[in-house]
């Protein structure tokens, strides 16, 4: 794990946003999967802001996130990428967190 963090460039948690819908099963799984992955690379899961679209639906329109759960990554230049799903595919999530 530490080896990974030493050799890969990973995203900063402050550049991530997790979009969920309350405690829906997929949202709960996404939360857990993301936390696990971040911990694996030595990042603090609590540093990732979470947006509950069921509580604040306007954010859906603001961010253009129409499938949930979704993990939004914003680059320093302002470009965004989205990973949809409950983040259960570990390799896809790790690639996303490792900037591609």
């Amino acid at each position: 794990m530490n080896h990974r963090s030493e050799t890969m460039t990973v995203v900063s948690p402050r550049n991530l946003k997790l979009f969920v819908t309350g405690d829906a099963p997929r949202s709960k799984r996404a939360r857990a999967n993301l936390a696990e992955a971040l911990e694996r690379i030595g990042l603090d899961p609590d540093a990732v802001p979470e947006i509950d679209l069921s509580a604040d639906p306007v954010q859906t329109l603001t961010f253009g996130i129409f499938a949930t759960p979704a993990l939004l990554r914003t680059s320093e230049a302002g470009d965004t990428e989205v990973l949809y799903g409950d983040l259960s595919e570990r390799r896809a999530l790790e690639r996303f967190l490792a900037l591609g």
Partner: protein
């Protein structure tokens, strides 16, 4: 929202043909799947339903998974109803395209989107929700069953909120199942299939209701048209049946002798067919009927498949028929169409639109046989029958012309059936005799009239159109010069006869005068004779008295009887 007899609540789409086929509209709560291949009109149909709803004051939400907001509005801008989609109070357009470069890790759902839509429903008061191209999102779902499950959940979500949901989806190449969303056609209460075919290089769109659970509906596949007003289903609208008895009123054809042959003209509201070869004056007769209608103050819709308005007006003016003025005053509306430039269903739809818009008393289609040249998945005969159903139902007096062949000018009967449908059928032709070609007219049939079967000569002159008197010569009817020669002979004969009559009259009068003079002479002679006889008798009586008086000497105081003449009465009391 309407409550159908069977209990399924429906919401009218505002698209007349669609509402007729669905017996009232789409499910008021639940989903309708519109499946079709590219360019079949799925998105336009969905957008138009929303635009009509907004026009009625209902709210609507359009969620696009394929095109940007700008693209959607740009596409809609080519239709007459586009401005309704700019009503921000009642309409929300959500660009829900997946983010570029987005990836998937595991299962996802539409909960976030539904939360946003719930927010928009409250804001706009929406009753309609369209998901356009949701397969673009759900195809990323690794499990197809999961995608179908989410559609089911979406439909239920709409049902709980009394929302009419429309989903558009792409049709698989070789089946009637949606691409990427296999099985959802079984989950939704209604499914529409849009298809396209090329007919003589022209795109023909078709529409069919594949299922409509809990509702009676039209199962036929019908033509779907797209024009500036959007989607139309011309064959879905059934003309209402004519009410009441057929009118007995006759209306003039504008040709006095033809009116006489038809016992007063065409019946109002009837259908007439004029057939004949090219140049036999079909258009001219049509023009006469239109001008006569205008003279009565009636409105005529003149559809020309052969010629432009200016040409027709000019040509008719040369035979004394003026259409320019009634066209200018609006009593005649002239429309030129090209049969090749459109499918049968497009022509039919255009005719219906013109009839609806102008509400004519009289309809002329010159020639209806041109429709046979138009391509289409549906037959021209069906289109013609439908037009005539409409005109009959509305009491529109209809005149069709049809191009016949030289071999058999009545052959169009087998082509268009128009002659079967027509109440009156006039056949125009040429009579070639003695180096001349003369136009002829005959009445093949005229329902409700005792008409002559004789072929008559149709005369076109600067003063107008006329039918010549029938001049029979053996088994033939004389026309042209032969007729004129016959007319001339008859005129001479009539004159000679008149002279003979006059001479005889004079001779008889003379004889009467002579006879009357002779009678007068004889009367005088008789009178003279009687006077002579009377004088003779008086003289005789006198002579007798003298003789008697001489025979009897004077007898004074003697017997009176002896002195009485035979004429003298006896004295009183002597009897």
């Amino acid at each position: 929202m309407t409550e159908a007899a069977e209990g399924l609540a429906k919401r009218a789409t505002g698209i007349r043909g669609l509402d007729q086929m669905t017996r009232g509209g789409l499910p008021a709560a639940g989903g309708t799947l519109i499946l079709g291949r590219p360019a079949s009109g799925k998105t336009v149909l969905a957008m138009q339903i929303l635009a009509q709803a907004i026009a009625r004051g209902e709210g609507a939400i359009f969620v696009s998974f394929e095109e940007s907001r700008r693209q959607v509005l740009r596409d809609a801008a080519s239709f007459s109803w586009w401005h309704h989609l700019h009503d921000e109070q009642r309409f929300e357009l959500i660009d829900a395209r997946p983010a570029p470069g987005s990836r998937v890790s595991g299962e996802f759902d539409l909960e976030g989107l539904l939360a946003a839509i719930g927010f928009c429903v409250e804001r706009t008061g929406a009753h309609w929700l369209v998901f356009d191209g949701i397969d673009q999102l759900l195809r990323r779902q690794q499990d197809a069953l999961m995608a179908a499950d989410q559609i089911h959940g979406l439909s239920n979500w709409c049902e709980e909120r009394d929302l009419s949901l429309i989903l558009t989806g792409k049709l698989s190449e070789h089946s009637l199942a949606p691409t990427h969303l296999e099985g959802i056609e079984f989950l939704l209460p209604s499914v529409f299939i849009l298809s396209t075919t090329l007919v003589s290089n022209q795109l023909s769109r078709r529409f069919r209701i594949a299922k409509y659970r809990g509702s009676a509906h039209t199962t036929d596949e019908v033509a779907m048209l797209l024009d500036d007003d959007g989607v139309h289903f011309p064959y879905a609208i059934r003309p209402t049946a004519a009410a009441g008895p057929a009118p007995n009123e006759r209306i003039s054809t504008g040709i006095r002798r033809l009116d006489e042959v038809l016992e007063g003209g065409f019946y109002r509201g009837s259908t007439s067919l004029i057939s004949g070869q090219p140049g036999t004056a079909k258009t001219t007769l049509s023009g006469s009927v239109a001008a006569a209608a205008a003279a009565r103050g009636e409105r005529t819709l003149f559809i020309s498949f052969d010629e432009q308005q200016a040409t027709v007006v000019r040509n008719l003016a040369s035979v004394g028929i003026s259409l320019g003025e009634p066209i200018a005053s609006g009593l005649i509306q002239f429309h030129a169409r090209e049969a090749w430039n459109g499918l049968i269903e497009a022509h039919y739809h255009a005719l219906q639109q013109l009839i609806d818009g102008f509400e004519p008393d009289c309809l002329i289609i010159d020639p209806i046989s041109a429709l046979l040249k138009a391509d289409g998945a549906d037959s021209a005969q069906v289109a013609i029958e439908r037009v005539l159903s409409t005109t009959r139902a509305r009491g529109i007096t209809t005149l069709l012309t049809s191009l016949g062949t030289q071999i058999d000018p009545t052959s169009e009967a087998t082509l268009s059936h128009a002659s079967t449908l027509a109440d009156t059928w006039l056949v125009l032709g040429y009579n070639v005799r003695g180096g001349e070609r003369n136009r002829s007219l005959s009445v093949v049939k005229s329902r409700g009239s005792a008409h002559s079967d004789q072929v008559r000569e149709l005369i076109l002159a600067r003063q107008g159109i006329d039918l010549a008197e029938v001049y029979e010569y053996g088994t033939e009817v004389l026309m042209g010069t032969a007729r004129m020669q016959k007319e001339s002979e008859e005129a001479i004969n009539r004159r000679l006869k008149r002279l003979e009559d006059n001479q005889r009259q004079r001779a008889l009068k003379q004889r009467i005068e002579q006879t009357e003079a002779e009678a007068e002479r004889l009367r005088l002679e008789l009178q003279a004779h009687e006077e002579e006889r009377s004088a003779r008798e008086q003289s005789a009586r006198r002579h007798e008295r003298e003789v008697m008086s001489r025979r009897t000497p004077s007898a004074k105081g003697g017997d009176d009887d002896q002195h009485r003449t035979p004429e003298q009465p006896p004295p009183k009391g002597a009897a």
